[in-house]
């Protein structure tokens, strides 16, 4: 007997130890993923909580010890005063009150660390309590174990946290826990005492099983993932289009961002409106350019490049053109941002940026990205107007360049804009050489490469887009393996190919002109730019002209203007490019080519699906709220059904007059009695049950009612007026069930 008790204590201790390790798995990733610097104090707290629970210390003593520990730790970490001076306690109280205020304001980011730590302690305390409840009272741990696994695998998939060993540890602990708990449950169910030998008999095979399953799991061949890395996919789903990615604690911000270092993967359409523009002409809008290709994506050489401020009326300090005599069209355009980006979008040949509030700007010389200066005081950039000289690029000027021998092409410049990673596969360059071998000058070469992407081999696709593997090159993969992709694939590939043959080029990000929405009163064209219009393209440097945009992406057309100031033998294709008629622009050009398009007028599942997802995406908050409210209401109604359901039943059946309604009413009564707690076993006859009910309520109503029902049920006949005669009995019984 005593042996059994001791055994039970030891087993309980094992339960606690395993439980502790399971909880620990939740804490481990925090160090890497959040700014929690001092995990040890929390782990110690967890240990204290569990040890106290194990020894079943009196609840006041237990909570007292925990409180002391929490206070001491808070003091140690956040207050300079000695713990025993107690003055710091007032500061802490103040801080807590202040933080509570912040909480009620919903201003989560302003919480101070000490308060957050206190909250975390409370959370851990609750977790420890829950764990004790699961392990000792319920003897069930599967849910928590499963949650732990889920948590770890999700972290492993979507964050930098490497959970290889964590998963193994969790499995071992979880299996062990479940095994011990099953043992306990069997003991409870069979009301057995626990002889020591029995426990051993149980534990030895348990340990064996755990070991075997781990070894098998470890040694078994593992299928490679059947999906591409889901992260980019998830990212593309994200609503978060803000660009400031400096989140706390290493959580990666997703969306249209500055981070282009890993390109690839599918994305979902998103027609959130970003800008509205009034312009004279269709044109692309630039945001920034990037110069360093890493093999996976784009970064910038100078992380914190030099910035030049320029105020209203000051000329934009960068000129991209070297051709002094270039023909230009002077134009203005008005841009109204819909989302609060810190940067602005601007057209080629920008001269001035103006706004009503006299706000000034600064430009990052490396990225050629214009942001609002001293944005701290402003919530974002409001409406602004750009004056610009829309360039007409001289084809003759471009064609005059045949090699790198030009004073403007300094060594630094060339190094920067013909940079390529060393690992770039040779076949990319071979391809570029092959495409351009009989082209004389840079312009023709660039055109040849641009045209190459127009071949049928290449497909525009937003969904089925690969992410390069660890040892793969983004461009190489696109050019030679997948040949499916969207603007990033096309533009990056073109830049890389140009660079591989020594032509300086860079990668530009921004937006296409957007969707034309009609003419404004002032005779301008009104465009709406959505996230779907986000785009990337290529700029090639011609010493005689400057940076000239090229558009390799299939289905998109370059709307930069060229002047053919030479007797052109260029094919008519040039004109297409030049004039860029009402081409099926932006976004889903490839879809317009897709076969299902033939049934354009008819119903399309894909369209409906897209629209539905779109609708859900924009209104998900409402949906979530509605579902939550609905769920809550349903839950409350369900919980309280004993209170209201009888009234409903009486209301429903009181108006019924026909005898045929009697059986239904009787069955409803049976259900209601069952709900009330008077359960009928399936083998219990109605008569026995009626006696049981009557005995419970000390009446004879149910028997009387039942005998009428029996006639209906087992004789197939109802006497006339059965329902009228028994209605009162029925109502009385229903009323008795009102809790």
């Amino acid at each position: 007997m005593n042996g059994g008790k001791l055994q039970s204590k030891i087993l309980n201790m094992w339960l606690y130890i395993c439980g502790f390790f399971l909880l620990w798995e939740w804490l481990r990733p925090l160090k890497q993923l959040t700014d929690t610097a001092n995990l040890t104090v929390f782990i110690i707290f967890l240990v204290i909580s569990l040890v106290l629970a194990y020894f079943k210390v009196n609840i006041f003593v237990r909570n007292g010890i925990k409180l002391l520990y929490v206070l001491y730790t808070i003091n140690l970490l956040y207050f300079e005063d000695s713990f025993f001076k107690l003055k710091w306690l007032f500061y802490m109280t103040d801080s807590v009150i202040e933080n509570m205020r912040v909480v009620f304001q919903g201003n989560w980011m302003s919480l101070t660390d000490d308060f957050r730590s206190i909250l975390f302690f409370i959370l851990l305390g609750l977790m420890a309590y829950l764990l004790r409840y699961w392990l000792i009272s319920r003897r069930q741990i599967f849910v928590f174990f499963f949650m732990t696994l889920l948590y770890i695998t999700v972290l492993d998939t979507f964050t930098p946290y490497e959970a290889q060993f964590a998963i193994v540890r969790t499995i071992v602990i979880g299996f062990a826990l479940m095994g011990i708990l099953t043992f306990y449950r069997i003991l409870d169910r069979e009301k057995l005492q626990m002889p020591a030998a029995f426990a051993r008999k149980w534990l030895i095979p348990l340990v064996g099983m755990v070991c075997v399953s781990i070894i098998i799991g470890y040694a078994a061949p593992k299928a490679s993932p059947i999906w591409p890395d889901p992260v980019p996919y998830i990212k593309s789903y994200s609503q978060d289009t803000r660009e400031d990615g400096n989140g706390t604690g290493g959580i990666r911000k997703v969306g249209y961002g500055i981070d282009d270092s890993t390109l690839g993967g599918p994305f979902m359409p998103d027609d959130t409106v970003v800008y509205e523009t009034e312009a004279d002409h269709r044109q692309y809008w630039k945001v920034e350019t990037k110069d360093v290709y890493t093999g996976k994506g784009w970064v910038t050489a100078e992380e914190n490049g030099e910035k030049i401020a320029f105020a209203q009326g000051e000329e934009f300090p960068i000129s991209n053109y070297t051709d002094e005599e270039m023909t230009v069209d002077e134009r203005t355009a008005t841009i109204r941002p819909f989302l609060q980006y810190p940067h602005i979008i601007y057209p080629l040949g920008l001269k001035f940026v103006e706004n009503d509030i006299g706000h000034s700007y600064e430009v990052d010389l490396s990225l050629e990205k214009i942001s609002g200066a001293d944005l701290g005081n402003l919530s974002g950039i409001g409406q602004y107007t750009v004056e610009y000289e829309s360039p007409r690029f001289s084809v003759r000027g471009m064609m005059s360049t045949v090699d790198q021998n030009h004073p403007l092409l300094t060594e630094d410049f060339l190094t920067r804009y013909t940079q390529l990673p060393d690992e770039l596969p040779e076949r990319v360059r071979d391809l570029a050489l092959e495409l351009t071998q009989d082209k004389e000058n840079w312009y023709e070469k660039a055109k040849a490469i641009e045209d190459y992407f127009g071949r049928v081999d290449f497909q525009y696709d937003q969904k089925d887009v690969a992410v390069p593997g660890r040892n793969e090159d983004y461009v190489d993969q696109f050019l030679f393996e997948t040949q499916k992709g969207y603007c990033d694939n096309f533009s990056t590939s073109m830049v890389v190919m140009l660079r591989s043959i020594g032509i300086p080029a860079r990668w530009v990000k921004g937006y296409t002109e957007g969707d034309f929405r009609g003419m404004t009163d002032s005779g301008k064209r009104l465009y709406v730019i959505t996230n779907n219009n986000a785009h990337s393209w290529v700029e090639v440097f011609f010493p005689e002209v400057g940076w000239v945009p090229f558009e390799p992406t299939k289905g998109f057309s370059n709307n930069a203007q060229f002047t053919f100031d030479l007797d052109s033998e260029q094919p008519s294709q040039q004109d297409d490019v030049l004039e860029a008629p009402e081409a099926p622009e932006v976004d889903k050009p490839e879809e317009t080519d897709a076969p299902e398009q033939s049934a354009q007028t008819s119903f399309s599942w894909k369209d409906t699906f897209d629209k539905t997802t779109q609708f859900l995406r924009t209104n998900w908050l409402w949906f979530a709220a509605a579902i939550a409210v609905l769920t809550l209401t349903t839950y409350i109604l369900y919980k309280k059904r004993l209170k209201w359901l009888p009234y409903f039943l009486i209301f429903r059946y009181r108006r019924r007059k026909k005898d045929e309604d009697f059986p239904e009413a009787y069955i409803a009564l049976l259900t209601q009695l069952n709900r009330y707690g008077l359960k009928r076993n399936q083998e219990q006859t109605l008569r026995e049950y009626a006696r049981y009910v009557d005995h419970y309520f000390s009446s004879g109503e149910m028997s009387a009612l039942t005998s009428t029902y029996e006639q209906y049920l087992y004789k197939g006949k109802l006497q006339e007026g059965s329902w009228e005669n028994t209605k009162e009995l029925w109502e009385n019984l229903i009323k008795k069930t009102i809790a």
């Binding site: 059986p663 076993n681 083998e683 219990q684 006859t685 109605l686 049920l713 087992y714 004789k715």
Partner: protein, 318 residues
């Protein structure tokens, strides 16, 4: 069920029987059920608990011809059915009816006689007729056999084959009276032989009418379904080697009709079926030997089956 009102005629018969039988109302009721539904009863019990008294009281109450056959190993079929004897005066064979030619027969210790003799009785039970020397003699109706067998002695017995057990509508045990009842038995025995004082309540014509009425008792499809489910349950049970036959289903239905009628109802309730199931079906199922070794009885099996078959509480949807 005792709360329910009884059919007055049947109530009087039972009261009459109770004048001589103390306690054992259950047995009396069940015997009446068998009598009224035209079936036969197998009583399994030790001697001396009042089996004969019971049958005689029943016979007297309905004013029926009572015959008793004491089965012994050397009993011949002709001792049961009767025999044709040559009458030298008339120069022809004359049939002398045997004890089976009565209305209510007590076949005592039926398992003591040879199968041949047993089957003579059983033929009578099943066919309501006996064949002697190629001549078929119809038995008078009503014809009711109450057979007894002693479960204690096995030496020199011929247990009834399963197929023949099936001929009995019900099988039951009488059991000993409880202390008070037995004291009452003693007191009564001091005074008279009570059976002699008994008067009949109805005559055979009334009994036949009752039997006809019982056939009119409604058995709804829900109840039929319930009966079939129970019988099917015995066929599927893991302890059972051979479940009850359709004859069992019919027997259960007929018994339930009689029972319902007894309680003044013209329709059968699941309660009736539940109550009778064990008496009607227990002797019709053959248990596996494993189950026998585990001490599981046919009654246990039926109890389990009944617990598993849900009571119909709504009409069948067709």
């Amino acid at each position: 069920m005792t709360h329910e009102q009884m059919n007055p005629t049947i109530g009087r018969i039972l009261e009459n029987i109770e004048k001589v039988m103390i306690g054992k109302r259950n047995v009396a009721e069940l015997s009446l059920v068998a009598l009224l539904s035209g079936g036969h009863v197998l009583l399994e019990d030790v001697p001396g608990v009042g089996k004969t008294m019971m049958v005689r009281a029943l016979a007297k109450s309905v004013n029926a011809k009572f015959r008793r056959i004491q089965f012994t190993p050397d009993l011949l079929p002709s001792d049961v059915t009767g025999v044709s004897i040559y009458n030298p005066k008339e120069l022809e064979f004359q049939f002398r009816p045997g004890p089976i030619m009565g209305n209510i027969i007590l076949a005592d210790e039926i398992n003591r006689t040879s199968p041949k003799t047993q089957s003579a009785l059983l033929e009578g039970m099943e066919e309501s007729s006996v064949t002697v020397d190629g001549v078929t003699h119809r038995l008078e109706k009503p014809f009711f056999v109450m057979a007894t067998q002693n479960p204690i002695e096995y030496e020199g017995t011929y247990p009834l084959p399963e197929a023949q057990l099936d001929r009995f509508l019900l099988k039951m045990k009488m059991g000993y009276p409880d202390v008070n009842e037995e004291m009452e038995v003693l007191s009564r025995a001091q005074r008279t032989t009570p059976i002699e004082e008994l008067e009949s309540v109805i005559d055979l014509n009334d009994l036949r009418e009752l039997q006809e009425n019982i056939k009119l008792v409604t058995v709804d499809d829900t109840i039929k379904r319930y009966i079939v489910d129970i019988v099917n349950g015995t066929r599927r049970n893991s302890s059972v080697y051979l479940g009850a036959s359709p004859r069992g289903s019919i027997a259960l239905m007929k018994a339930a009709q009689a029972y319902a009628y007894m309680y003044k109802r013209d329709y059968v309730l699941p309660d009736d079926v539940q109550f009778l199931a064990s008496y009607v079906l227990a002797h019709r199922i053959i248990l596996k030997s494993e189950a026998k070794f585990e001490g599981i009885s046919a009654e246990d099996v039926l109890e389990r089956v009944l617990a598993r078959v849900p009571i119909p509480v709504q009409r069948l949807v067709k």
